[in-house]
Protein backbone atom coordinates (compact mmCIF):
# COMPACT_ATOMS: atom_id res chain seq x y z
CA UNK A 1 0.00 0.00 0.00
CA UNK A 2 1.17 3.46 -0.88
CA UNK A 3 0.27 6.15 1.65
CA UNK A 4 -1.00 9.46 0.33
CA UNK A 5 -0.11 12.51 2.42
CA UNK A 6 -2.26 15.60 1.90
CA UNK A 7 -0.92 18.91 3.09
CA UNK A 8 0.09 22.32 1.76
CA UNK A 9 2.74 22.25 -0.95
CA UNK A 10 4.98 25.12 0.15
CA UNK A 11 5.58 24.67 3.88
CA UNK A 12 6.90 22.14 6.37
CA UNK A 13 4.15 23.04 8.83
CA UNK A 14 2.33 20.31 10.70
CA UNK A 15 2.76 17.97 7.75
CA UNK A 16 6.47 17.76 8.50
CA UNK A 17 5.91 15.69 11.64
CA UNK A 18 4.23 13.08 9.45
CA UNK A 19 6.84 13.32 6.68
CA UNK A 20 9.65 12.67 9.15
CA UNK A 21 7.96 9.50 10.39
CA UNK A 22 7.32 8.27 6.85
CA UNK A 23 10.92 8.99 5.87
CA UNK A 24 12.48 7.35 8.93
CA UNK A 25 10.33 4.28 8.27
CA UNK A 26 11.22 4.32 4.57
CA UNK A 27 7.51 4.00 3.95
CA UNK A 28 6.04 4.09 0.47
CA UNK A 29 4.22 7.43 0.21
CA UNK A 30 3.39 10.29 -2.09
CA UNK A 31 3.20 13.92 -1.00
CA UNK A 32 0.08 14.64 -3.01
CA UNK A 33 -0.13 18.41 -2.70
CA UNK A 34 3.35 18.82 -4.16
CA UNK A 35 2.38 17.04 -7.36
CA UNK A 36 0.42 18.47 -10.29
CA UNK A 37 -3.01 19.76 -9.24
CA UNK A 38 -2.18 18.70 -5.71
CA UNK A 39 -3.86 21.49 -3.81
CA UNK A 40 -7.09 20.89 -5.72
CA UNK A 41 -6.91 17.17 -4.92
CA UNK A 42 -6.33 18.01 -1.26
CA UNK A 43 -9.34 20.32 -1.04
CA UNK A 44 -11.48 17.76 -2.86
CA UNK A 45 -10.64 14.82 -0.63
CA UNK A 46 -10.90 16.97 2.50
CA UNK A 47 -14.52 17.72 1.65
CA UNK A 48 -15.52 14.35 0.21
CA UNK A 49 -13.92 11.90 2.63
CA UNK A 50 -16.20 9.84 4.82
CA UNK A 51 -14.09 11.25 7.66
CA UNK A 52 -13.59 14.87 6.54
CA UNK A 53 -10.76 16.69 8.28
CA UNK A 54 -11.13 20.17 9.70
CA UNK A 55 -7.76 21.05 8.13
CA UNK A 56 -4.74 19.39 6.51
CA UNK A 57 -2.62 17.37 7.07
CA UNK A 58 -4.41 14.09 6.55
CA UNK A 59 -3.20 10.71 5.40
CA UNK A 60 -4.95 8.25 3.12
CA UNK A 61 -4.04 4.70 4.05
CA UNK A 62 -6.01 2.35 1.84
CA UNK A 63 -9.64 3.22 2.45
CA UNK A 64 -8.99 5.10 5.68
CA UNK A 65 -8.42 8.87 5.78
CA UNK A 66 -6.85 10.07 9.05
CA UNK A 67 -6.45 13.70 10.13
CA UNK A 68 -4.68 15.58 12.94
CA UNK A 69 -0.92 15.10 12.79
CA UNK A 70 -0.61 13.47 16.22
CA UNK A 71 -3.40 11.08 15.30
CA UNK A 72 -1.67 10.17 12.04
CA UNK A 73 1.50 9.42 14.01
CA UNK A 74 -0.49 7.30 16.44
CA UNK A 75 -1.61 5.25 13.44
CA UNK A 76 1.82 5.05 11.81
CA UNK A 77 3.80 4.51 15.00
CA UNK A 78 2.69 1.00 15.79
CA UNK A 79 2.86 -0.06 12.14
CA UNK A 80 6.41 1.06 11.48
CA UNK A 81 8.27 0.39 14.71
CA UNK A 82 8.15 4.02 15.77
CA UNK A 83 6.18 3.36 18.96
CA UNK A 84 6.08 0.56 21.53
CA UNK A 85 3.73 -2.35 21.01
CA UNK A 86 2.11 -2.18 24.45
CA UNK A 87 -0.96 0.00 24.94
CA UNK A 88 0.61 1.87 27.86
CA UNK A 89 3.72 2.53 25.81
CA UNK A 90 1.73 3.79 22.84
CA UNK A 91 -0.34 6.12 25.03
CA UNK A 92 2.81 7.55 26.61
CA UNK A 93 4.43 8.35 23.25
CA UNK A 94 1.15 9.88 22.10
CA UNK A 95 0.97 11.99 25.26
CA UNK A 96 4.44 13.37 24.55
CA UNK A 97 3.41 14.06 20.95
CA UNK A 98 0.29 15.93 22.04
CA UNK A 99 2.40 18.07 24.35
CA UNK A 100 4.79 18.81 21.49
CA UNK A 101 1.73 19.77 19.42
CA UNK A 102 0.78 22.25 22.15
CA UNK A 103 4.24 23.77 21.92
CA UNK A 104 3.96 23.95 18.12
CA UNK A 105 0.66 25.82 18.39
CA UNK A 106 2.27 28.33 20.74
CA UNK A 107 5.22 28.71 18.36
CA UNK A 108 2.72 29.51 15.60
CA UNK A 109 1.02 32.07 17.80
CA UNK A 110 4.25 34.03 18.28
CA UNK A 111 3.56 35.55 14.86
CA UNK A 112 -0.22 35.16 14.89
CA UNK A 113 -1.37 35.90 18.46
CA UNK A 114 -4.63 37.57 17.43
CA UNK A 115 -5.94 35.72 14.37
CA UNK A 116 -4.69 33.37 11.66
CA UNK A 117 -6.79 35.31 9.18
CA UNK A 118 -4.74 38.49 9.68
CA UNK A 119 -1.28 39.17 8.32
CA UNK A 120 1.62 39.18 10.74
CA UNK A 121 2.04 42.85 9.88
CA UNK A 122 -1.40 43.52 11.34
CA UNK A 123 -0.55 42.03 14.74
CA UNK A 124 3.08 42.96 15.27
CA UNK A 125 2.86 44.66 18.68
CA UNK A 126 0.89 41.73 20.06
CA UNK A 127 3.35 39.30 18.48
CA UNK A 128 6.24 41.01 20.18
CA UNK A 129 4.57 40.74 23.56
CA UNK A 130 3.55 37.12 22.97
CA UNK A 131 7.00 36.05 21.75
CA UNK A 132 8.73 37.54 24.79
CA UNK A 133 6.65 35.41 27.16
CA UNK A 134 6.98 32.40 24.89
CA UNK A 135 10.78 32.56 24.92
CA UNK A 136 11.11 33.50 28.59
CA UNK A 137 8.62 31.07 30.06
CA UNK A 138 7.16 28.56 27.68
CA UNK A 139 10.07 27.24 25.63
CA UNK A 140 12.24 26.66 28.73
CA UNK A 141 9.33 24.91 30.42
CA UNK A 142 8.51 22.64 27.50
CA UNK A 143 12.11 21.82 26.62
CA UNK A 144 12.92 21.41 30.32
CA UNK A 145 10.15 18.85 30.60
CA UNK A 146 11.42 17.00 27.52
CA UNK A 147 14.99 17.14 28.81
CA UNK A 148 13.75 15.64 32.06
CA UNK A 149 12.16 12.76 30.17
CA UNK A 150 15.50 11.83 28.61
CA UNK A 151 17.14 12.00 32.02
CA UNK A 152 14.42 9.88 33.60
CA UNK A 153 14.44 7.26 30.86
CA UNK A 154 18.21 7.01 30.80
CA UNK A 155 18.21 8.11 27.15
CA UNK A 156 19.54 8.51 24.63
CA UNK A 157 16.00 9.07 23.32
CA UNK A 158 12.97 10.51 25.06
CA UNK A 159 11.70 7.22 26.36
CA UNK A 160 14.90 5.19 26.43
CA UNK A 161 17.00 3.27 24.00
CA UNK A 162 14.55 3.10 21.14
CA UNK A 163 13.69 5.96 18.81
CA UNK A 164 9.98 6.84 18.50
CA UNK A 165 8.07 9.32 16.39
CA UNK A 166 8.13 11.73 19.36
CA UNK A 167 11.92 11.93 19.00
CA UNK A 168 11.52 12.82 15.34
CA UNK A 169 9.06 15.54 16.32
CA UNK A 170 11.40 16.87 19.00
CA UNK A 171 14.08 17.15 16.32
CA UNK A 172 11.69 19.18 14.19
CA UNK A 173 10.70 21.45 17.07
CA UNK A 174 14.32 22.19 18.03
CA UNK A 175 15.18 22.83 14.36
CA UNK A 176 12.24 25.14 13.97
CA UNK A 177 12.90 27.07 17.15
CA UNK A 178 16.52 27.50 16.10
CA UNK A 179 15.41 28.83 12.74
CA UNK A 180 12.90 31.25 14.23
CA UNK A 181 14.74 32.35 17.37
CA UNK A 182 18.48 31.71 16.91
CA UNK A 183 19.52 34.18 19.59
CA UNK A 184 17.11 33.07 22.30
CA UNK A 185 17.78 29.42 21.57
CA UNK A 186 21.51 29.76 22.11
CA UNK A 187 20.81 30.60 25.75
CA UNK A 188 17.93 28.17 26.24
CA UNK A 189 19.76 25.17 24.79
CA UNK A 190 22.46 25.33 27.44
CA UNK A 191 19.90 24.32 30.03
CA UNK A 192 18.43 21.40 28.08
CA UNK A 193 21.43 19.47 26.71
CA UNK A 194 19.67 16.12 26.66
CA UNK A 195 16.80 17.44 24.54
CA UNK A 196 19.33 18.91 22.12
CA UNK A 197 21.15 15.60 21.99
CA UNK A 198 17.98 13.89 20.82
CA UNK A 199 17.85 16.42 17.98
CA UNK A 200 21.45 15.60 17.06
CA UNK A 201 20.88 11.86 17.16
CA UNK A 202 17.86 12.14 14.89
CA UNK A 203 19.82 14.16 12.31
CA UNK A 204 22.44 11.42 12.21
CA UNK A 205 20.01 8.68 11.24
CA UNK A 206 20.67 7.61 7.64
CA UNK A 207 17.08 7.86 6.40
CA UNK A 208 16.62 11.26 8.01
CA UNK A 209 19.96 12.54 6.77
CA UNK A 210 19.07 11.40 3.29
CA UNK A 211 15.69 13.11 3.53
CA UNK A 212 17.10 16.39 4.86
CA UNK A 213 19.52 16.51 1.94
CA UNK A 214 16.82 15.78 -0.62
CA UNK A 215 14.44 18.06 -2.49
CA UNK A 216 11.61 16.45 -0.58
CA UNK A 217 12.60 18.52 2.47
CA UNK A 218 11.24 22.03 2.07
CA UNK A 219 13.20 24.89 3.61
CA UNK A 220 11.86 26.80 6.58
CA UNK A 221 10.20 30.00 5.40
CA UNK A 222 7.96 32.84 6.50
CA UNK A 223 4.74 31.08 5.51
CA UNK A 224 5.19 28.19 7.91
CA UNK A 225 4.87 27.70 11.65
CA UNK A 226 8.45 28.61 12.53
CA UNK A 227 9.22 32.03 11.04
CA UNK A 228 12.30 34.15 11.36
CA UNK A 229 11.28 37.65 12.32
CA UNK A 230 14.35 39.08 14.05
CA UNK A 231 12.27 41.57 16.02
CA UNK A 232 10.62 38.66 17.86
CA UNK A 233 13.91 37.01 18.83
CA UNK A 234 14.72 39.07 21.89
Amino acid sequence: MRYELYYWPEIQGRGEFVRLALEEAAANYVDVARGKGGTGKTMKLMASAKTPSFAPPFLKAGQVVIGQSANILLYLGSRHGLAPKSEAGRLWIHQIQLTLADLVKEAHDTHHPIASSLYYEDQKPEAKRYAAHFLDERVPKYLGWLDGLVRKSGGPFLTGRKLTYADLSLFQVVSGLRYAFPQAMRAIEKKVPRAVEVHDRVIARPNIENYLNSKRRLAFNEMGIFRRYPELDA
Copy 2:
Protein backbone atom coordinates in the same frame (compact mmCIF):
# COMPACT_ATOMS: atom_id res chain seq x y z
CA MET B 1 -10.23 -0.86 39.68
CA ARG B 2 -10.92 2.65 40.83
CA TYR B 3 -9.68 5.38 38.51
CA GLU B 4 -7.99 8.38 40.09
CA LEU B 5 -8.46 11.68 38.25
CA TYR B 6 -5.96 14.39 38.99
CA TYR B 7 -6.84 17.95 38.08
CA TRP B 8 -7.39 21.35 39.65
CA PRO B 9 -10.04 21.41 42.36
CA GLU B 10 -11.88 24.63 41.49
CA ILE B 11 -12.52 24.55 37.75
CA GLN B 12 -14.15 22.41 35.08
CA GLY B 13 -11.29 23.12 32.68
CA ARG B 14 -9.84 20.33 30.59
CA GLY B 15 -10.58 17.85 33.37
CA GLU B 16 -14.28 18.18 32.62
CA PHE B 17 -13.98 16.31 29.33
CA VAL B 18 -12.67 13.35 31.30
CA ARG B 19 -15.24 13.71 34.10
CA LEU B 20 -18.10 13.63 31.59
CA ALA B 21 -16.83 10.37 30.10
CA LEU B 22 -16.37 8.79 33.53
CA GLU B 23 -19.85 9.91 34.58
CA GLU B 24 -21.60 8.71 31.42
CA ALA B 25 -19.86 5.36 31.83
CA ALA B 26 -20.78 5.23 35.53
CA ALA B 27 -17.13 4.38 36.11
CA ASN B 28 -15.67 4.00 39.58
CA TYR B 29 -13.45 7.05 40.07
CA VAL B 30 -12.27 9.58 42.59
CA ASP B 31 -11.60 13.23 41.77
CA VAL B 32 -8.42 13.38 43.82
CA ALA B 33 -7.72 17.11 43.80
CA ARG B 34 -11.12 17.84 45.31
CA GLY B 35 -10.40 15.72 48.36
CA LYS B 36 -8.30 16.64 51.38
CA GLY B 37 -4.72 17.58 50.43
CA GLY B 38 -5.66 16.89 46.82
CA THR B 39 -3.61 19.59 45.14
CA GLY B 40 -0.49 18.43 46.96
CA LYS B 41 -1.16 14.84 45.90
CA THR B 42 -1.61 16.02 42.32
CA MET B 43 1.68 17.92 42.25
CA LYS B 44 3.46 15.00 43.86
CA LEU B 45 2.26 12.35 41.41
CA MET B 46 2.80 14.69 38.45
CA ALA B 47 6.49 14.88 39.34
CA SER B 48 7.03 11.32 40.52
CA ALA B 49 5.13 9.29 37.92
CA LYS B 50 7.14 7.13 35.56
CA THR B 51 5.24 9.01 32.86
CA PRO B 52 5.22 12.56 34.26
CA SER B 53 2.65 14.86 32.67
CA PHE B 54 3.47 18.38 31.52
CA ALA B 55 0.25 19.55 33.18
CA PRO B 56 -2.97 18.16 34.68
CA PRO B 57 -5.33 16.51 33.97
CA PHE B 58 -3.99 12.99 34.23
CA LEU B 59 -5.64 9.72 35.13
CA LYS B 60 -4.24 6.90 37.20
CA ALA B 61 -5.59 3.56 35.99
CA GLY B 62 -3.94 0.84 38.02
CA GLN B 63 -0.22 1.26 37.46
CA VAL B 64 -0.62 3.44 34.38
CA VAL B 65 -0.70 7.25 34.56
CA ILE B 66 -2.09 8.89 31.41
CA GLY B 67 -2.01 12.62 30.62
CA GLN B 68 -3.49 14.93 27.96
CA SER B 69 -7.27 14.93 28.11
CA ALA B 70 -7.78 13.62 24.55
CA ASN B 71 -5.34 10.81 25.28
CA ILE B 72 -7.20 9.89 28.47
CA LEU B 73 -10.41 9.73 26.46
CA LEU B 74 -8.71 7.55 23.86
CA TYR B 75 -7.89 5.16 26.69
CA LEU B 76 -11.32 5.29 28.32
CA GLY B 77 -13.32 5.24 25.09
CA SER B 78 -12.69 1.70 24.03
CA ARG B 79 -13.02 0.40 27.59
CA HIS B 80 -16.40 1.91 28.34
CA GLY B 81 -18.31 1.73 25.09
CA LEU B 82 -17.71 5.40 24.31
CA ALA B 83 -15.84 4.74 21.08
CA PRO B 84 -16.08 2.14 18.30
CA LYS B 85 -14.12 -1.08 18.57
CA SER B 86 -12.47 -0.85 15.15
CA GLU B 87 -9.15 0.93 14.82
CA ALA B 88 -10.45 3.21 12.06
CA GLY B 89 -13.45 4.11 14.18
CA ARG B 90 -11.32 4.87 17.23
CA LEU B 91 -8.97 7.07 15.21
CA TRP B 92 -11.88 9.01 13.77
CA ILE B 93 -13.41 9.76 17.19
CA HIS B 94 -9.97 10.75 18.42
CA GLN B 95 -9.49 13.06 15.45
CA ILE B 96 -12.75 14.82 16.28
CA GLN B 97 -11.66 15.08 19.92
CA LEU B 98 -8.31 16.62 18.95
CA THR B 99 -10.12 19.18 16.83
CA LEU B 100 -12.41 19.99 19.76
CA ALA B 101 -9.26 20.40 21.88
CA ASP B 102 -7.97 22.93 19.35
CA LEU B 103 -11.21 24.87 19.71
CA VAL B 104 -10.93 24.72 23.50
CA LYS B 105 -7.42 26.16 23.35
CA GLU B 106 -8.67 29.03 21.21
CA ALA B 107 -11.56 29.61 23.63
CA HIS B 108 -9.00 29.86 26.44
CA ASP B 109 -6.96 32.33 24.43
CA THR B 110 -9.90 34.74 24.12
CA HIS B 111 -9.04 35.89 27.66
CA HIS B 112 -5.33 35.01 27.56
CA PRO B 113 -4.09 35.86 24.08
CA ILE B 114 -0.63 37.01 25.21
CA ALA B 115 0.40 34.76 28.11
CA SER B 116 -1.16 32.40 30.62
CA SER B 117 1.15 33.85 33.24
CA LEU B 118 -0.45 37.30 33.00
CA TYR B 119 -3.80 38.32 34.43
CA TYR B 120 -6.66 38.90 32.03
CA GLU B 121 -6.60 42.53 33.18
CA ASP B 122 -3.09 42.84 31.75
CA GLN B 123 -4.11 41.74 28.24
CA LYS B 124 -7.60 43.19 27.80
CA PRO B 125 -7.13 45.10 24.52
CA GLU B 126 -5.55 42.04 22.92
CA ALA B 127 -8.32 39.84 24.33
CA LYS B 128 -10.97 42.04 22.77
CA ARG B 129 -9.31 41.82 19.37
CA TYR B 130 -8.78 38.06 19.67
CA ALA B 131 -12.33 37.36 20.82
CA ALA B 132 -13.86 39.30 17.92
CA HIS B 133 -12.06 37.10 15.39
CA PHE B 134 -12.80 33.99 17.42
CA LEU B 135 -16.53 34.65 17.42
CA ASP B 136 -16.72 35.91 13.82
CA GLU B 137 -14.55 33.29 12.16
CA ARG B 138 -13.44 30.43 14.33
CA VAL B 139 -16.52 29.35 16.29
CA PRO B 140 -18.72 29.31 13.17
CA LYS B 141 -16.06 27.33 11.31
CA TYR B 142 -15.57 24.74 14.07
CA LEU B 143 -19.26 24.34 14.90
CA GLY B 144 -20.07 24.32 11.18
CA TRP B 145 -17.66 21.44 10.69
CA LEU B 146 -19.19 19.56 13.63
CA ASP B 147 -22.70 20.26 12.36
CA GLY B 148 -21.64 18.85 9.00
CA LEU B 149 -20.46 15.65 10.66
CA VAL B 150 -23.91 15.06 12.16
CA ARG B 151 -25.50 15.70 8.78
CA LYS B 152 -23.07 13.37 7.01
CA SER B 153 -23.44 10.57 9.55
CA GLY B 154 -27.21 10.81 9.60
CA GLY B 155 -27.12 11.63 13.33
CA PRO B 156 -28.38 11.99 15.90
CA PHE B 157 -24.80 11.99 17.22
CA LEU B 158 -21.58 13.16 15.58
CA THR B 159 -20.75 9.82 14.03
CA GLY B 160 -24.18 8.23 13.81
CA ARG B 161 -26.53 6.42 16.11
CA LYS B 162 -24.15 5.72 18.93
CA LEU B 163 -22.92 8.26 21.46
CA THR B 164 -19.14 8.63 21.83
CA TYR B 165 -16.93 10.67 24.10
CA ALA B 166 -16.66 13.27 21.34
CA ASP B 167 -20.39 13.95 21.73
CA LEU B 168 -19.90 14.49 25.46
CA SER B 169 -17.10 16.94 24.66
CA LEU B 170 -19.23 18.76 22.11
CA PHE B 171 -21.86 19.19 24.81
CA GLN B 172 -19.24 20.72 27.09
CA VAL B 173 -17.96 23.06 24.38
CA VAL B 174 -21.44 24.33 23.51
CA SER B 175 -22.23 24.78 27.22
CA GLY B 176 -19.00 26.66 27.77
CA LEU B 177 -19.40 28.90 24.75
CA ARG B 178 -22.95 29.71 25.85
CA TYR B 179 -21.69 30.63 29.28
CA ALA B 180 -18.87 32.81 27.98
CA PHE B 181 -20.52 34.37 24.94
CA PRO B 182 -24.32 34.19 25.35
CA GLN B 183 -25.02 36.98 22.88
CA ALA B 184 -22.75 35.78 20.10
CA MET B 185 -23.90 32.19 20.55
CA ARG B 186 -27.56 33.08 20.04
CA ALA B 187 -26.72 34.09 16.48
CA ILE B 188 -24.19 31.34 15.79
CA GLU B 189 -26.40 28.49 17.02
CA LYS B 190 -29.05 29.23 14.41
CA LYS B 191 -26.64 28.07 11.73
CA VAL B 192 -25.58 24.85 13.44
CA PRO B 193 -28.80 23.24 14.66
CA ARG B 194 -27.47 19.68 14.46
CA ALA B 195 -24.49 20.45 16.66
CA VAL B 196 -26.81 22.06 19.20
CA GLU B 197 -29.07 19.01 19.06
CA VAL B 198 -26.13 16.81 20.09
CA HIS B 199 -25.69 19.08 23.12
CA ASP B 200 -29.37 18.67 23.98
CA ARG B 201 -29.28 14.90 23.60
CA VAL B 202 -26.28 14.62 25.87
CA ILE B 203 -27.98 16.66 28.60
CA ALA B 204 -30.93 14.28 28.49
CA ARG B 205 -28.87 11.18 29.24
CA PRO B 206 -29.69 9.92 32.74
CA ASN B 207 -26.10 9.63 33.99
CA ILE B 208 -25.19 13.06 32.64
CA GLU B 209 -28.36 14.65 34.00
CA ASN B 210 -27.64 13.13 37.38
CA TYR B 211 -24.05 14.41 37.25
CA LEU B 212 -25.01 17.93 36.18
CA ASN B 213 -27.43 18.14 39.12
CA SER B 214 -24.85 16.87 41.61
CA LYS B 215 -22.22 18.68 43.64
CA ARG B 216 -19.60 16.87 41.59
CA ARG B 217 -20.30 19.27 38.71
CA LEU B 218 -18.49 22.53 39.38
CA ALA B 219 -20.05 25.73 38.08
CA PHE B 220 -18.46 27.69 35.25
CA ASN B 221 -16.40 30.54 36.67
CA GLU B 222 -13.81 33.14 35.76
CA MET B 223 -10.85 30.90 36.62
CA GLY B 224 -11.64 28.29 34.00
CA ILE B 225 -11.39 28.06 30.24
CA PHE B 226 -14.81 29.49 29.46
CA ARG B 227 -15.14 32.86 31.20
CA ARG B 228 -17.92 35.39 31.06
CA TYR B 229 -16.42 38.77 30.38
CA PRO B 230 -19.28 40.71 28.77
CA GLU B 231 -16.88 43.07 26.99
CA LEU B 232 -15.62 40.11 24.91
CA ASP B 233 -19.10 39.00 23.85
CA ALA B 234 -19.61 41.38 20.95
